[in-house]
């Protein structure tokens, strides 16, 4: 009885991934037409490195989206990480590990607070995380006194900018992180619960899943992924600044996650977000190389989200659309004849 359902889900994910990889290949081919040199392995790795921060924050966002929530605090947590890490490291290697650990703890606390409030009160995730982002912003503004300073340690710089055997170190870290996250969400009891809670909260409760703990874990995971995103970005930028682009990560992580095939009811895969992030990054880089300004990117992002999600829904009611365009077979009239 359960088997057909599982088969259906599996085939759905398989379909999604095949189509996503096709899209990526097509996009790379398009960029190859405009600029043949962009197909070199080193350039492709460069694009993957560019997509790494987005991909990491999008994996966190996906876990939240799968449970039917949304995390709007991602952007401010990224900026906070940059400000605090630059200020505390002051360019010293010895401080790298303690500061990273501290930031991860702060992230876990912020996310845990989100999860706790969302699980125990009726507050909608969107409002809770928005309010939290406002508080985090206030926090780092107070911390920095409005003027961020300091720079990150050489070790973080190394992760953010250098290559090891021709492969950007960021990509190596990114790959290890993806493997760990995939293992966690596909193979462990705790990770799987993200899908269960999203798919059927009532059934999940009856199955004995402690919803509060799991939601705390999932939101903490999202915030910690945002912290890692912030660390990699800081390694790339090198200094503390308010302009790390945290805001754009908030929207783009949602976009990547959705393009990667995740839905609000527990159907999808956390790993899909990384391909979604790659697609968005490639499109943006094609746009940039074509000289299209910000306008094109924003419009494109919107069009991609709408198209991909429409395709995933797979439930465009064709009859409905036909009815809409043909006046004769118009919608059923209601009692008042309206």
């Amino acid at each position: 009885m359960h088997l057909p359902l599982i088969n259906k889900t599996l085939s759905r994910n398989a379909k999604v991934f095949t189509s996503l990889i096709l899209v990526v290949v097509v996009l790379f081919a398009i960029s190859g037409i405009f600029n043949p040199r962009s197909l070199s392995p080193s350039h492709i790795l460069g694009v993957v490195r560019q997509s790494a921060p987005l991909g990491i924050s999008a994996m966190g966002q996906s876990a939240v989206i799968l449970t039917g929530g949304i995390d709007l605090s991602v952007g401010e947590v990224i900026t906070m990480t940059n400000i605090i890490s630059a200020d505390m490291m002051k360019g010293r290697n010895s401080r790298t590990i303690p500061v990273i650990l501290l930031l991860l703890v702060i992230g876990a606390l912020i996310g845990g607070m989100n999860g706790f409030m969302i699980a125990t009160t009726n507050i909608p995730p969107m409002v809770m995380t928005f309010a939290m982002s406002s508080m985090v912003k206030g926090g780092y503004l107070l911390y920095s006194g409005g003027a961020p300073r300091g720079r990150v340690s050489p070790f973080l710089r190394y992760i953010g900018t250098q290559r090891f055997l021709g492969i950007p170190v960021t990509v190596i870290v990114y790959t290890m992180l993806i493997i760990a996250v995939l293992y966690y969400f596909q193979k462990t009891k705790w990770g799987r619960s993200a899908y269960f809670i999203g798919n059927n909260p009532v059934a999940a409760e009856y199955a004995g899943i402690p919803k509060t703990y799991r939601l705390i874990m999932i939101y903490a995971f999202s915030a910690m992924m945002a912290v890692i995103t912030g660390l990699i970005l800081s390694g790339y930028i090198g200094i503390g600044t308010f302009d790390v682009g945290g805001d754009s990560y908030m929207l783009n992580s949602i976009a990547s996650s959705v393009v990667g095939g995740n839905t609000f009811n527990g159907i999808g895969n956390v790993g899909g977000a990384t391909i979604g992030a790659l697609i968005i990054t490639v499109i943006e880089s094609i746009m940039t190389s074509l000289g299209v300004a910000e306008t094109g990117k924003l419009v494109m992002r919107g069009v991609i989200i709408i198209t991909m999600v429409t395709l995933y829904m797979g439930s465009i009611d064709l009859d409905k659309v036909k009815k809409f365009f043909s006046k004769e077979g118009g919608p059923v009239k209601d009692a008042q004849g309206n």
Binding site: L72, V127, F130, S134, L141, L298, T310, I316, N338
Partner: protein, 322 residues
């Protein structure tokens, strides 16, 4: 007998509903009285005018958001619609040509309606999650406003701004009067028209509404058109207040409009709430921001305070619901 019992039930439910609303407005009243006693500058004429003109754009956009949230949806494109409205206003107005004012109004309102019908169309016909659909369309609209005006600028001549900023009796700006009129209009639409009852019916249970013969898609399209239209009007108010256009000026309003609706006690579960509640939410949020400014709290702390107040208010109103 049975009828009598029903009537009793109705009466008691009506009373609890009003008790809810009364306590909400009591909070507003306590804030106002407390602030007037302890902060002398709060009583000043300048401050009251300021409060009113600050409240108008957020109030207008929150009215529209109420429609979407009652149907269990959400409209995250309202901020972008506001920015687009300010950009269109600032670029199309020509100080030398009074007729341009007459052109700008239908242009902005028409564009807003078009965006709203697009939102409603993709949400109802493609079965898209409202959150994702409006987030995406918001991104597209942002792109378009950046195309029209890539930086804050443009100019709104006096003949346009006067129709929003003129202060009646030196205290009440016209924009807040438009806001009050629109509260009455939306209240009437939601509570005394067939469309309004259908909005609540869909929010309560979409499937049952469909079975009952309501054309759900059509109502949803109208809901998002209403939300966009009010965002467009809010954009006009914002443009008049800034006297210029800014392609990102509206972005902060999106989430504050959602917050205002939720603070008022309309919940995402749908089918409940209304614009009178939203008005209370708008009042609370604007009063808090003005009071924090007046007592000289650092803007850094204001972020923290605003976040805390939103959380407390929403938890409070959702507890009362439960």
């Amino acid at each position: 007998m049975l009828q009598n019992k029903n009537e009793n039930n109705k009466l008691s439910s009506l009373l609890t509903k009003h008790k809810d609303l009364t306590s909400l407005y009591m909070i507003v009243l306590i804030i106002i009285i407390g602030a007037s006693i302890f902060i002398p500058s709060f009583r000043s004429q300048q401050n009251i005018t300021n409060l009113f003109s600050q409240m108008a754009p957020m109030g207008l956009v929150a009215l529209g958001q109420t429609f979407a949230i009652i149907t269990t949806g959400i409209d995250l494109s309202v901020g972008s619609v506001m920015s687009l409205a300010t950009v269109i206003t600032a670029t199309q107005l020509d100080p030398a040509n009074p007729i341009s004012v007459l052109i700008v109004y239908p242009l902005v309102l028409g564009v807003s309606l078009l965006i709203g019908s697009f939102n409603g169309f993709i949400i109802s016909k493609f079965n898209l999650e409202p959150l994702i659909a409006t987030l995406a369309s918001g991104s597209i609209i942002n792109g378009i406003s950046l195309l029209i005006l890539s930086h804050p600028g443009g100019f709104c001549p006096r003949m346009f701004t006067n129709s929003w900023l003129t202060e009646i009796g030196g205290i009440v700006p016209l924009s807040i009067i438009y806001f009050f009129i629109l509260i009455l209009v939306t209240y009437f639409v939601l509570n005394h028209t067939r469309f309004g009852r259908r909005v609540y019916a869909i929010g309560g249970d979409e499937e049952k509404a469909e079975i009952a013969g309501i054309n759900v898609d059509k109502v949803k399209i109208k809901v998002y058109m209403a939300s966009s239209l009010l965002a467009g009007i809010a954009g006009l108010a914002l443009a008049a207040r800034m006297r210029s256009g800014d392609p990102i000026s509206g972005s902060t309003f999106t989430l504050y409009s959602v917050a205002a609706v939720l603070v008022g006690g309309t919940t995402f579960s749908g089918g409940k709430g209304g614009v009178i509640r939203t008005f209370a939410g708008v009042l609370i949020l604007s009063l808090v921001s003005i009071i924090l400014n007046l007592i000289g709290v650092s803007p850094f702390y204001q972020n923290v305070m605003t976040g805390l107040i939103i959380i407390l208010a929403v938890i409070n109103s959702s507890l009362r619901k439960g």
